[in-house]
């Protein structure tokens, strides 16, 4: 039964504004929200510092640096005479980004193939699915150090191990959602294909897989974020210096001296996560042009 998100959908609204108008409107909202958040931050900081409240935590320039200081920090060198922060962060982002993308692709492919395999056998599905679900409760990030050290001793370089971690985090949503998508096909559509004497393979590739694409994208959006998180976190216990995780560990040690570096790093981490997510969402929009399913 179709479920609608609007209330009594009787009349359409007034004529929609032009595309340029819409974009401008959205930009306006974006700018105002950012400005509001900036104001909130500085306002909170000012208020707490003036009154000296210590709940939930004491506010000073170390716990809550001014946002403009954080912005300025990007152009400061991290070591005397060294390159500015933004340079090292960009290098680190590239490093971590590689891990995330590699893991993402690997995990997505494995998840997809696994789902395909499970969809062909009810028995297999019933036996294996609970483990796939349970596997998500294992805090894989917790065994990150072991994975990285262990693989390192076998000659696998650090970033590959982290990529494997990212892959692990990706494969679950992709496999679960792909499976759901493969099963979501209207049985009558399947009957139609069978009436054309279509083989099982054909039904799979021409009917089920295309039907599962929206579901897969839903999972990919979650996985994009998960891969980035996995990559960043995976680097930390293993003390891989080159990536964003390493940067976090480093700057954490100097936090009281220069809090803005850690904050700047976190901003970059956030940006990486968002950019990756938007890339997947953008691809989704291209691939599913005009599809009615709109799941955020």
């Amino acid at each position: 039964m179709a479920v609608l998100t609007t209330d009594v959908a009787v009349a359409a609204g007034p004529k929609a504004p032009s595309r340029a108008g819409q974009a401008l409107g959205r930009l306006g909202v974006f700018v105002s929200v950012v400005a509001a958040l900036w104001g909130l931050w500085e306002g909170y900081k000012w208020l707490w510092q003036t009154t000296g409240w210590t709940w939930p935590f004491a506010v000073d320039d170390v716990t809550m640096p001014h946002l403009h200081d954080v912005a300025a920090a990007f152009w400061q060198p991290t070591t005397t005479g060294g390159p500015p922060l933004i340079r090292s962060l960009l290098d680190a982002t590239w490093f971590t980004g590689k891990e995330a993308v590699a893991g993402f692709v690997l995990g997505a492919v494995i998840g997809f193939v696994l789902a395909l395999a499970l969809s062909q056998s009810r028995l297999l599905e019933r036996g294996v699915l609970p483990y796939i679900v349970a596997s998500q409760t294992v805090p894989i990030l917790a065994i990150a150090p072991m994975v990285v050290v262990g693989l390192g001793s076998k000659g696998v370089s650090g970033w590959k191990a982290v990529a494997i971690l990212a892959a692990y985090l990706t494969f679950f949503p992709v496999s679960i959602n792909t499976l759901r998508g493969l099963h979501s096909v209207d049985p009558r559509a399947v009957e139609l294909m069978e009436s054309y004497a279509a083989s099982r393979w054909r039904v799979l590739w021409q009917l089920r897989v295309p039907a599962s694409v929206p579901y897969i994208f839903t999972a990919l959006k979650i996985s994009a974020t998960a891969s980035v998180i996995g990559a960043i976190i995976g680097e930390t216990p293993a003390s891989i210096q080159d990536g964003l995780g390493g940067a976090i560990v480093n700057f954490n040690q100097y936090y009281s001296l220069e809090p803005t570096f850690l904050w700047a790093t976190n901003v970059v981490c956030a940006a990486l996560g968002i950019v990756f997510f938007l890339a997947v969402a953008g691809t989704e929009r291209l691939v599913l042009r005009g599809a009615p399913e709109n799941v955020a």
């Binding site: 479920v3 959205r26 009810r122 028995l123 294996v128 805090p139 990030l141 150090p145 981490c269 997510f277």
Partner: protein, 261 residues
Amino acid sequence: MIIRRRLRDWLPVLAVFAIGLGLWQGLTTAFHVQAFLLPKPTDIATSFWDNKGALWHAGVYTLKEAAGGFAIGSGLGVVAALFLARFRRVGAAIMPFAIAANAVPIIAFSPITNNWFGLLNPISKMSIAAVLCFFPTMVNTLRGLTSVHPSSIELMRSYAGGELSVFRRVRIPSALPFMFTGLKVAAVLSMIGAIVGEYFGGPTNALGVSILNDSQLFDFPRAWAGIALASAFGIALYGTVALVEHATTSWHPSARRVSSE
């Protein structure tokens, strides 16, 4: 008859479990796989038994962080969803930001929360867990609150029911299944958030710290035992939510499905 069917449903799962466990034990013994990748299950079990006191305490400590974060984050998520469902325009404007915020690696903020609340303070990890729980709960609950059949709204209007009536009698009950979907995701995330948050520092009697220490000291059976415990607690949290879900929403179609669909 029902018992036989139940057994049949569970058989493949148990079979895979037994096979998996057997393979694990067999292969690690036969190929002398080094302990730090995969200790033998028996070694892990032994280590757990030997250290059960310390591990259990650490586990409970971390569980409290996770549960606290879950309660706060999910609670706020539900409240936010109610607010955004009532004031749709605000919700529409904010949604892209909520989606973007969800893509931010929150756990990376652990060092900062440690600085705010103190390394040894459970609140530093609880806040991470809370933020992790907030978004799935909010997004799912909001979806449930707004996915109401228009005829339902018309029906309430025919009874001269206002916005509040619609909320009370229609939106909120129909949102429950969606909310629980979000809560289940949040339950799992809260435990992971607490443990990984502890990676950036925490008291020694916390499970995440314990696991990290064990792996750095190469006591992998004990580290794995800790992980098994963390898993178990995560499943327990999830299971609790699922139980409450079953008790309150047994009327929903997804609860009535006969077999895996």
